[in-house]
Each structure stands twice: as C-alpha cells, then as structure tokens.
C-alpha cells in the first residue's frame, strides 16, 4: 500500500516561470472539487507520463495548507537528472491533465515547539512556504533563514519578505553568503525546533552545528531533496513474483518494480522514509546505496536495498518481492 496507489486527477491550472531555473505549477481537481487539506511540509507525488515512460517524482506543496481550491509546487530544472524536472519544464503546460497522490508529510512541524526555526537553501524553500502559512495561522513564533546562490535565483525571496516581514531573513552567496549557524543556533529559547531543507552540505552543517552546541536530536528536523539518480541499465529478479525485470538508465528500481505490477511499499521516493526497504536474496555485484535510511552495517551486508533511489551493477540481484 502506498499513497500513490490512490491518485487524484488534476488539471494544471497555471504554469509560472519564477526564474531561469524554477517553474511553479498549480493544480486544480479535475472536477473542481476541493483537494485534501494538508499540513505544512507535506509533499505530493506527481505522475508523469512521458511517452511509454511513467515517472513519479515527489514535490513539496508550497501553497497554503488552508487553500483547498488548488495546490502549488515549484520544480527546479535539473538537466543532468532522470528527466522528470525536464519533463515538467518542457512538456507540462496549463490545461494538461495529470495525476497526483494525496499529500504525505514526512517533514511536519513539531506542534509542541515554542518556536520554529526554519533554514532553507535554494529550492528547499518550498516546504517552508506552507509551514510559515500554518505557523502564522496557529500564532506560533517562527523565523525563516533563506539562502540562495544569487539574488536572481532566489525564488520568492521578495514575496516572502512582504508576506512575513521580519520573520524572514535572506542571504545570497553573491552578497556575503549564508547565516552564521553557530551564532543563530546559540541564541534560541529552550523548546525551539530547527528545520532544514536544502543542499546536502547545508543540512549536514546545520545538523552538526546544532548537535555540537547540545541540541537534542528530537529538536532537529531535516528533509533531503533527493531524486533518484540516473545510471546504467540493469536487471533484477523478483523472487516471490518469479519474474525478471529490466531497469532503464533513467528509471528507478522502484518505478520498474511498480511497472511490473508487483506490490511494494513506498512513501517519499527519495531514500529517506524507509518504507520501501527490501530484503536482498542474492547479490552478486555491487549495490549503489543512494539512500539516507540504511546504516553502514546494513549496506555492507548487501542484505537490504531501498529501491526508490538505489541501483545495481553486477551479475545478479535477487529481491524478496
């Protein structure tokens, strides 16, 4: 069972070019129905039918959780990726019909927090836009620190400052760089929760700085924006189903399993949530573990794989599916 088994039919109501690398897409229910309410930090899975290829990518909802008429996501174009963002940028236009999953939240606010401290890098801003709308509505104190490479690439920076005023501080690499994390994290009231979403280096820096200062792990939240990497084609044997499947260079193993009609759990499709963890029956070769879920021992054992992001190179891979 997974959220993407029950898709919601939508129509693309608007496509906005936010800057040279980011486009915003808005969706309405195909019959004009209300879309499900959600909580800030939730994502949806967008199904892309690109000729004979079916891709499913997860994108954070950036629209207000209180807006049921439409959803909005932002997609950063990645020309080196599997083609999902390229498809969104090049093929998707207003009026197109698509399918999306119900919202899933793996990056929710801890509603007990005395204060929400949000740190965003680049396109990692999107979940925070919804979270800030939620925190404002709840009257919960929050603060956003948003860093981008250049002012030209800093999507929504101006509008967020207009909307949330002094709660938002912006930083650009071409104008002095990001926040001083040690200073920022040393001066937060007890009961603050920190949330970070952005490039890997930024997430690691926030987690390390906070941990070194003595923040408990339960107060540190992060969301990796990981899309399945491309690679060489490979084939896999599914032991229970008794079939061999082929995984294309720009297809994820998870997508190939789904395409074969074999049931598999999943949620985030980005190697973070652990739902698709699958037992390896035989592995004669090397698994490229691209996930954030398995620990080093599990990886070394070659007994587990996260099909949403991981790939294989070698003679034979047999999974317990």
């Amino acid at each position: 069972m997974s959220a993407s088994d029950h898709l919601i039919p939508v129509v693309v109501s608007k496509v906005v070019e936010v800057n040279s690398i980011i486009k915003r897409f808005e969706f309405k229910h195909i019959h004009g129905n209300e879309l499900p309410a959600f909580s800030g930090g939730a994502h949806i899975v967008v199904e892309m039918l690109d000729g004979s290829t079916k891709r499913k990518n997860a994108y954070s909802l950036m629209s207000s959780p209180f807006e049921r008429g439409q959803y909005a996501i932002s997609v950063r174009r990645d020309d080196d990726g599997r083609g999902g963002s390229k498809f969104m940028h090049e093929k998707v236009e207003a009026g197109m019909k698509m399918n999306i999953s119900a919202p899933v939240n793996l990056f929710s606010l801890d509603l007990r927090a005395r204060k929400h401290l949000m740190i965003a890098g680049g396109i990692g801003i999107t979940p925070f836009i919804a979270q800030m709308a939620q925190a404002s509505e709840l009257g919960a104190p929050f603060e956003l620190h948003y860093a981008a490479r250049t002012a030209a690439q800093a999507a929504y920076m101006d509008s967020l400052q207009d909307r949330f005023g002094d709660n938002v501080t912006c930083y650009c690499d071409d104008a002095g760089g990001g926040p001083d994390l040690a200073e920022l994290l040393s001066d937060q009231p007890l009961g603050t929760h920190v949330y970070v979403c952005g490039p890997k280096g930024m997430i690691e820096a926030v987690v390390k700085t906070a941990t070194d200062l003595g923040w408990p792990a339960a107060h540190i939240h992060f969301e990796h924006f990981l899309s399945p990497p491309v690679g060489q084609a490979f084939s896999v044997h599914l032991a229970k189903a008794g079939i061999d499947i082929a995984v294309g260079p720009e297809q994820s193993l998870l997508e190939a399993i789904e395409a074969s009609g074999t049931p598999v759990n999943c949620l985030c499709r980005g190697g973070a949530c652990g739902q698709c963890e699958t037992r390896v029956v035989t592995c004669d070769g090397d698994i490229a573990h691209n996930d954030h879920w398995l620990d080093d021992d599990q990886r070394a054992s070659k007994q587990f794989i996260m099909p949403c992001v991981s790939r294989f190179r070698g003679e034979r891979l047999e999974l317990d599916l």
Binding site: R112, L190, G191, G214
Partner: protein, 203 residues
C-alpha cells in the same frame, strides 16, 4: 557506592544510565543526597572552564551539611539547595524558563526526584530523550492511585494502602513520565474480603 539495580521490566518503566558530560552551552544538575556523589564525580573529571557553565540544584537530607559544602566547593556558576524536591523542581522551572537551546539537564538520585525533574524539563520544552539520569539510593516509588488520583510518595511496600481512598493498591511497573509516577491499581477489587500480605519490596 550504591549503584542502581533495577530489574528489566516493561517498556514504560524508565531505565537509567551514568551521567557523562555532553556538549552544551549550559549544564543544569539536579540531585538529592543519594545522587550528590554523581555530580561531584562528573565535576571532578570535567575539562577546565566547564564549571563556569554549570548550575546545580540540590535537595539535602535534613541535617546533613557535608555534601552541601562539597557541592558548593565545585565552583559552579550557580548553586542553590532546597529542603524539598518540590521546591527544587519549582526553581528548575524558573531557571529553564530563561534557558537557551543547547542546555543539558543531568539528574541524579532517587526516582521521585528524577521523574519530577524530567517532567518539568518537558514542560519547559526540553525533550525527555535529551535528559541524562543516573539512579542512586532508594527504590521507593512515587505512585498515583488510579482511583482517587492521589500521589503517594516514597512507597516501599507491595501492595500499598492509599492514604486517601483506603484501597489496597498493587504498584505496577507501568510508569507515566507526565505524572512522574507508577500506577497503583486496587489489588482486591474483585473480592475486597481477600487478605493480601503487605511486603517491603522497594528498598
């Protein structure tokens, strides 16, 4: 040294470790007489400058002064002692109200003290998973009578008679962090005429 000997039990029953310095901007210690030695042990092994970030709350045994002197001599930034756990916990609340993230909480002594300090920490926004606890001294339990909700302190017997509703309570291992108490449930509710022997078990 009377190290804690708590038997393995159900998953709601707290377990305790050994205090060790964790990274932090400020370090809060709360101890009673049985836990004072743990604070002294940590302080003596601490790196230079550590005590400047340390705040100690202490609940002595009535009439005892030696440990007060010893704790005072550690040279903490703040040191206060109170005659009761309740008073010390109230002061902990005052201190934590002004505290910042990066504060560490260390608790040492009896379960009643540890439990109430953990609950106060959570109330002030400090996640219980981040609190270090070292159990020392008596295994006497703080028990909530599930029937009349009375909190019974320093329970050493199994069962125990509720001083408020007079029911004879089985002291379970089921523990509430929010209440900082074990659960007491009537042991002979089905047949109140049943005689039950009262034994001293939480020493």
């Amino acid at each position: 040294m009377s190290e804690s000997l708590i038997e393995e039990s159900i998953l709601s029953r707290p377990t305790y470790g050994t205090l060790a310095i964790a990274p932090g901007l400020a370090h809060y210690f709360v101890a009673d007489a049985s836990g004072a030695e743990c604070v002294i042990r940590v302080a003596q092994a601490a790196p230079k400058g550590f005590m400047e970030k340390v705040h100690i709350l202490y609940v002595p045994t009535p009439g005892e002064n030696a440990l007060i002197t010893a704790l005072y001599a550690l040279g903490a930034k703040r040191f206060e002692h109170f005659p009761t756990i309740d008073d010390a916990i109230a002061r902990l609340g005052d201190w934590l109200a002004d505290a910042k993230m990066g504060s560490q909480l260390y608790l040492a002594g009896t379960e009643g003290l540890i439990g109430q300090a953990v609950a106060k920490g959570e109330e002030c926004g400090l996640d219980h998973t981040a609190v270090q606890c070292e159990h020392r001294g008596s295994l006497a339990r703080r028990v909530q009578c599930v029937h009349c909700k009375t909190m019974i302190e320093k329970v050493t017997t199994q069962p125990v008679k509720c001083p408020s509703c007079d029911l004879l309570l089985l002291v379970r291992d089921h523990y509430s962090r929010r209440l900082a108490a074990f659960q007491g449930v009537c042991i002979n509710a089905e047949d109140p005429t049943e005689e039950v022997e009262i034994r001293e078990v939480f020493k």
